[in-house]
């Protein structure tokens, strides 16, 4: 039984997205606006089994983020089916729910609640999260006094410590200073060792190689290749080099 399964998934966006105004709607009713939808994903199928770490590679705009959003349950596919089993923690954009006027501790609790933790569990994990973040005594200061590195560290700590079954990660390993990066890498390694699964989007081949067993290469919304990390990366990078030459 796979933890995540995509079956012939397609997702498209209307081109006029972003201007949800009355006149746009009126224009549409009268049929004066016609746009081909933009396909973010086209007929994508893959599965993630228990204990597996899958890297998603592809150039900008290939559909990687849309794929993660679908896996996280943020949106529904327009065609096909997405099945997910277990609790997902999505590290899509760290600190999305943070408010600058609340203290670090208040933001921590709010973020834990957003990730679905109960009050008891939050109290239980509180010290561990603060400890991991290395924020120390500043935890009771308002977030606006934090450096951006500190905010990222706090957000990452909440997500990694909230004990999800599946972790969805979008380019967030470059968080904080070298020491914290080392720590977060270690946390991910022990997460994997605990037999949990990951979907991992990164542009860094080094990180992909060290974190994942399998890779999925997508381009313009379609799957180009699905296989062992080494093979997929070789093909992906090979193509990138070819494109540079031509």
């Amino acid at each position: 039984m796979p933890l995540i399964e995509f079956q012939n998934v397609s997702k498209w966006f209307p081109h006029s997205t972003g201007r949800q105004l009355l006149r746009t709607h009126i224009a549409r009713w009268f049929g004066s606006v016609h746009h081909e939808p933009f396909y973010a994903l086209r007929n994508v199928s893959f599965r993630l089994d228990e204990g597996e770490s899958l890297a998603i590679v592809g150039s900008n705009g290939a559909g990687k983020s849309t794929l993660l959003s679908l896996a996280a349950g943020l949106t529904m596919p327009d065609q096909g089916a997405v099945r997910v089993k277990g609790r997902v923690a999505a590290l899509l954009e760290l600190g999305a729910g943070f408010h600058p006027d609340l203290t670090g501790a208040e933001n921590l609790v709010l973020n834990a609640a957003l990730l679905g933790l109960s009050k008891r569990k939050t109290n239980e994990l509180f010290d561990k999260i603060v400890d991991f973040s290395g924020i120390g005594e500043f935890i009771d200061d308002p977030l606006r006094t934090y450096s951006s590195g500190m905010i990222m560290r706090l957000a990452f700590s909440v997500a990694i410590q909230c004990e999800p079954d599946i972790l969805l990660i979008d380019e967030v390993l470059a968080v904080g200073d070298a020491k914290f990066q080392e720590k977060s890498k270690e946390a991910l390694v022990s997460f994997r060792r605990a037999g949990k699964s990951m979907l991992f989007v990164s542009h860094s081949p080094g990180a992909v190689r060290s974190m994942c067993d399998r890779a999925l290469w997508i381009d313009h919304g379609s799957v180009m290749m699905d296989g062992a990390v080494k093979d997929v990366l070789d093909a992906y990078e090979g193509r990138a080099v070819m494109q540079q030459r031509t």
Partner: protein
């Protein structure tokens, strides 16, 4: 997908709203009290001294009975309408159930309602009007108003994602409502042929019933109460249905 702790999340969102609002004000909660008092004094001055009308003995109190439910209604409706849009960062990143945002928004306004109700009841006592058994109706009346606003907010917060002009429609509607709810005039002043207009207006019903209880020492009118119960439940159910229907489209439109 998201099977977390609903109540804990909503409580945290409400607390966040409250803390954020009051941490940036040196007078804090006092503003919640000052605003209706200023309006009450202003309306009393205008309608008893400048534009003098035949009025009741307890005019300031009568005005406050109108202002408190109206203010709550207007503010909760507008802030609730924009709540989904303002949480777009979260909606695009965290798979929380989307209805928590309008619900938390209304509930955080309920805290202000509570503060203002305390003020209102305090002033009722200052005016020398004692507590009576009819006060037991008050929680029900306010509960129905909250239910009605909740339904309205669910509906409009969802529509606002699709049509961003919605919030301005709501703001205009509130301006109209300020005049069409009997805030600074009493029910008896309304000509009989216009009374029907007020009978279908839930905010007017709430104001009338509060005056029944607090100023006239009697139970609210049964027919008005039943109508309010019906309208509130229908509005709430409609809100939930519309929100459920529209929420799947939020992601692509935010």
């Amino acid at each position: 997908m998201w099977n977390g702790d609903y109540l804990f999340l909503i409580r945290n969102l409400v607390e966040k709203d409250f803390k954020v609002r009051y941490r940036n004000m040196s007078l804090g909660v006092l503003w919640s009290l000052l605003n209706p008092l200023i309006m009450m004094a202003l309306l009393t001055f205008i309608f008893t001294k400048i534009f003098a009308q035949p009025h009741e003995r307890n005019f300031p109190l009568s005005v406050l009975c109108g202002l408190v439910p109206y203010n709550f209604f207007a503010v909760a409706w507008v802030t609730g309408t924009t709540s989904v849009l303002e949480s777009s960062a979260l909606i695009k990143r965290v798979p929380v159930p989307r209805q928590v945002f309008p619900i938390a928004s209304v509930l955080s306004n309920c805290l202000h309602l509570l503060i203002q109700i305390t003020l209102l009841l305090g002033i009722v006592l200052v005016y020398g009007r004692g507590v009576n058994t009819h006060w037991l109706w008050l929680p029900l009346i306010w509960g129905l108003e909250i239910l009605f606003v909740m339904g309205l907010t669910l509906t409009f917060s969802a529509i606002n994602v699709y049509v961003r002009d919605t919030r301005y429609v709501v703001e205009s509607a509130n301006t109209v409502l300020f005049w069409l709810v009997p805030i600074f005039y009493s029910w008896t002043l309304i000509p009989a042929r216009f009374k029907g207009l007020y009978q279908v207006n839930p905010v007017a019903a709430v104001v009338l019933m509060m005056r029944n209880v607090l100023l006239e020492d009697r139970a609210p009118l049964g027919s008005t109460l039943i109508r309010l119960v019906f309208v509130s439940i229908v509005m709430f159910a409609t809100g939930i249905l519309i929100f459920r229907k529209l929420k799947d489209g939020f992601y692509t439109r935010l």
